[in-house]
């Protein structure tokens, strides 16, 4: 159970079932979103707060229907504004465990600005970024994460845009927490969500989510059984970055670059392999990890960065406390009578 600041713990032990709402889940059968929902319903009881202290905020998109399905407080916002709405919720009420459910379009197309500003401010909010590399709800247009050349309903000849790398964008915006998971691994998803909840500040969890209708198999090159061992590096704090079917591949730092090596080949020993430090403030290695992708590299999964910095909400509360201590204006009557006033008799 998570010990965190002022958020009330649940007096009784809760289970997954407690977080299932009475609403019909309306995603396509086999959509990756179902597994994400399971992961959330699994991790919320583990986190252990009172049901009423969880709050989910979303924008618009398939992913943004999320709040309806979890039995907590929820707010289904307007397209792109989840981060802005959530900022207000959290600043106003710091006693909530606040989660944002948002899509790649919602948070990186129309909502891009709120997204980067929330990250920069480091308000204590957990963002679940459902990245399916497409606009699902509007039926299949390319998004800011669609790979270059991707053919969609609005790019019949292939997209001509360089996609965002969410990790790059988050860290380029002074992000303090970034993790990446695949929708086919509920355990890893809920573990990482737990870490996100633990982190003080804005946590971005990028979930590579399969849209079976409009971007099916978009992540097959990393997620499928055949390739996954070689294509995925599962990061763990203070553990060496080792991967591969035989756990014999590893990541080393060579110059200012990461390189894939095989333990036992060319004299590489296990001790040479980079040890993951998710709490490091300097984002250098985290950035490189965030950018790795096949075929040259495995993709990094798990918590890539979780660096401790001050949060906006806490600093705001501190400023208020300071002001309340030092200012002579304690109520509106004081305010009205402050400065130059005079009596007419």
């Amino acid at each position: 159970m998570l010990e965190k600041k002022r958020i009330d713990k649940s007096p009784v032990e809760l289970t997954k079932k407690d977080f299932v709402s009475d609403q019909m889940v309306k995603w396509c059968p086999a959509c990756g979103n179902h597994a994400i929902l399971t992961a959330v319903q699994k991790v919320f009881p583990e986190i252990g707060y009172k049901k009423e202290n969880f709050c989910l905020v979303s924008g618009i998109g398939c992913s943004s229907r999320f709040p309806y399905y979890v039995d907590t407080y929820g707010f289904h916002g307007i397209h792109g504004r989840a981060a802005a709405i959530a900022s207000g919720v959290k600043i106003a009420n710091t006693e909530l465990s606040l989660w944002v459910a948002t899509g790649d379009g919602d948070s990186m197309a129309i909502g891009g600005n709120h997204f980067i500003h929330l990250i920069r401010r480091n308000i204590d909010i957990n963002i679940l970024l459902f990245n399916n590399q497409v606009y699902g709800l509007t039926k299949g247009q390319y998004s800011p994460t669609t790979p270059r050349g991707g053919i969609t309903k609005t790019s019949p000849q292939g997209t001509i845009e360089h996609p965002f790398n969410p990790a790059g964008l988050v860290m380029g915006s002074q992000g303090t927490f970034f993790a990446r998971v695949l929708d086919n691994n509920v355990k890893m998803m809920s573990d990482v969500m737990y870490e996100a909840a633990k982190h003080d500040g804005t946590s971005v969890v990028e979930i590579l989510q399969n849209c079976v209708i409009y971007s099916d198999q978009a992540f097959a090159n990393i997620a499928s059984k055949e390739v996954r061992d070689e294509a995925q590096l599962r990061l763990e704090h203070e553990k060496p970055m080792i991967f591969g079917k035989n756990m014999d591949k590893g990541i080393v730092l060579s110059g200012n670059k990461l390189r894939v090596v095989t333990i036992g080949e060319n004299g590489v020993k296990e001790e040479d392999i980079l040890i993951h430090d998710q709490y490091k403030k300097d984002p250098g290695i985290h950035r490189m990890l965030g950018r790795m992708h096949p075929p040259k590299y495995p993709i990094a999964l798990g918590v890539i960065r979780s660096a401790p910095f001050n949060t906006y909400d806490r600093l705001m509360s501190e400023q208020i406390e300071t002001a309340q201590k030092s200012s002579s204006i304690k109520c509106v009557d004081d305010l009205l009578n402050s400065g130059d006033t005079w009596e007419i008799e």
Binding site: D8, N53, G74, A84, S87, V89, N93, I329, N337, W342
Partner: protein
């Protein structure tokens, strides 16, 4: 008092200080208004500064001004034309001469009326020499030289010395105005008390100016405006923007809901954000957002989370907030949207005032999307209307757009300081923990208001959002009849606010030849004109509206009691269109002005008389 000057007692006087952006005219004006206020006058002020921060020296673009209207009677506006103009350079004279009454006193710094300054102002010749000022009572003094001179014994920086010349000018006006120079010195001390050297210099120069004026032969008239008969009580001078900020804070305190502001700076609304930023001691959480959309969305989030939330902006920002206002309407959450109107369309005339965001406030959103709209009508009553907007918003669980304008926002007048305990109660409809059959869209029978169930509260878990939802249960729904029901409920909920607002009052008789109608920031000019004409026995009355959506219940009755109706607005006729929609049975005359300028009493008098004349000739 000067040997040869005769004292003229006046009902009211308009003084304007003008100079280059760096000349300190705002401070001079503020000091002068405080002096008058402490002396018991009623007053109103208006600053008039350029769009540029510091436009090039001595150009028209760089002129900054401050106008004060003081009186021994109730003062409604900063005044049309001035009785005293203090002009520190040619450009400021050139830009303001058209606002000076014939025969008025003009105080000039003659040191600046030479060389390039003349041509940069766009004069061909020196206006001091070409006779163009012959109709005025000109007090031309070498203010810059005299200022330096008066400071020659003090060890201060030359540059700084010159910058105190505004105090010299103030000294002259203090004399001209028959005011107590010692009191003026005290006020200066309040400002600079913490920096003794600066205070000393300012004091010296101010006194020198006063003495100089006293010694001048050219000053033939000095003015006296007696104290106004004001209600007993404590007073302060306040701008509309500060009053708005305080009204919001008062509503928060009174309702027990913590205050949240989500806002983005924009002229002329920025001062509200700045004012609220300095009141963290009252627990006010102020979020300077990345843009207007984040401003309002964060406020909606805060409102959902149980704060009393507001957002403040001006026209272009209101445009950007359109979509999110719809979200607040759909989620039926309290939210105050303050819009300080400026000249439009688009970026328009950002530093000028206008009333052209009314239709946008009423209709500028997709779908059928009603909100309460109310308008303040004087700098000081911004406090009350901000308070009432907040009260209506929380008690009726609906967004409220409060309209003010640049003229109100930056202008000031005296506020009789209220006590918070005397303000009307605010009782937000909070749902109680574990309330037995709480449903998110269950409504009060009379008001149709749903309850405010705050995240964190036991047993009230629920979800809201922008999709249409079933009444009572609040589940997402596309059911045809439910949609129609919800559209009507949202409309009706706002209409029923009629029962919670006062009836419209009429200035003057309840019937007559002409009913003048206005709304918002033009009240001062309209009331002054109508009262003046009433004194001349015209059968004219004024209905000045603060409540726009919904309109007061008795509106129709009022309209039906006059031979003619004239709607006056600083736009092309937005309120008159709204009246036509609501009461198409009446015939409306209209007077519209879209010049970035307020109405003037003389102008209105002519318009009103013309309309009344037509009548007679018909």
């Amino acid at each position: 008092m000067s040997k040869n000057a005769n004292v003229v007692e006046l009902e009211d006087v308009v003084v304007k200080f003008v100079g280059d952006s760096g000349d300190g005219m705002q401070l001079t004006g503020t000091l002068f208004s405080e002096l008058a206020a402490f002396g018991g006058n009623d007053l109103a002020t208006f600053p008039d500064f350029p769009a540029e921060i510091r436009a090039p020296h001595n150009t028209i673009a760089g002129v900054s001004g401050f106008q004060i209207h003081v009186g021994k009677r109730k003062i409604y506006t900063p005044g049309d034309m001035c009785d005293i103009l203090v002009a520190m350079n040619p450009a400021s004279l050139k830009a303001n001469l058209k606002w000076v009454k014939y025969g008025a006193t003009i105080v000039l710094d003659e040191n600046n009326f030479e060389g390039k300054a003349i041509t940069k102002a766009g004069y061909q010749e020196n206006p001091l020499e070409d006779g163009s000022l012959r109709d005025y009572n000109v007090v031309s003094a070498p203010i810059t030289d005299l200022t330096k001179d008066s400071l020659k014994n003090q060890e201060i920086d030359k540059k700084f010395a010159v910058r105190t010349k505004n105090m010299f000018a103030l000294g002259i006006v203090v004399y001209l105005f028959n005011q107590d120079v010692k009191r003026a010195v005290k006020l200066v001390e309040r400002k600079f008390g913490k920096k003794p050297e600066i205070f000393e210099a300012n004091k010296t120069v101010l006194t020198a100016g006063y003495k100089y004026a006293k010694s001048l032969e050219t000053i033939q008239t000095i003015y006296k405006v007696d104290a106004a008969p004001m209600e007993k009580g404590r007073y302060r001078n306040i701008t509309g923007n500060v009053a708005t900020a305080w009204g919001l804070l008062a509503a928060s305190e009174k309702s027990g809901r913590p205050f949240f502001l989500g806002s983005y700076p924009i002229t002329p609304a920025t001062e509200i954000l700045m004012e609220l930023s300095i009141h963290k001691s009252l627990g006010a959480k102020v979020f300077q957002a990345e843009d207007e959309i984040a401003g309002i969305c964060s406020a909606i989030g805060a409102s959902f989370a149980g704060s009393f939330a507001a957002t403040t902006t001006s026209g272009p920002g209101l445009s950007l907030k359109s979509e999110a206002i719809g979200l607040a309407v759909m989620t039926e959450l309290p939210l105050v949207i303050v819009n300080v109107q400026r000249g439009g369309p688009s970026t328009g005339l950002p530093t000028k005032s206008e009333q052209s965001d009314l239709l946008q406030s009423l209709y500028g959103r997709n779908g059928e999307c009603p909100v309460i709209v109310i308008a303040a009508s004087s700098p000081a009553n911004c406090f009350y209307y901000a308070y009432l907007a907040s009260k209506l918003s929380m008690e009726h669980m609906t967004p409220v757009i409060m309209l003010t304008d640049g003229y109100l926002g930056l202008g000031s007048e005296l506020l009789k300081i209220p006590k918070v305990k005397d303000l009307p109660k605010i009782k937000p409809p909070l749902a109680k923990p574990n309330e037995p059959d709480y449903k998110p869209y269950k409504r009060d029978e009379n008001t149709l208001v749903r309850k405010w169930a705050i995240p964190g509260t036991d047993g009230l878990r629920h979800r809201v959002g922008g999709l249409e939802k079933t009444n009572i249960d609040g589940n997402v729904s596309t059911d045809p009849l439910n949609h129609q029901l919800m559209v009507k409920l949202r409309e009706e909920k706002v209409k029923r606010v009629q029962d919670f607002i006062p009836e419209q009052n009429v200035v003057g008789e309840e019937s007559g030849d002409l009913l003048v109608i206005g709304w918002g920031g033009t009240e001062g000019a309209l009331i002054s004109t109508v009262k003046r004409m009433q004194e001349e026995n015209y059968k004219i009355s004024l209905a000045h509206f603060n409540y726009i959506m919904p309109l007061p219940k008795n509106t129709k009755k009022i309209l039906s009691n006059f031979k003619k109706i004239l709607v006056c607005e600083l736009n092309m006729g937005q309120f008159v269109n709204y009246l036509k929609i609501n009461f198409p049975e009446f015939h409306y005359h209209q007077y519209n002005k879209v010049q970035g300028l307020p109405f003037h009493v003389n102008e209105l008098t002519e318009v009103f008389k013309n309309i009344l004349e037509e009548d007679k000739n018909a």
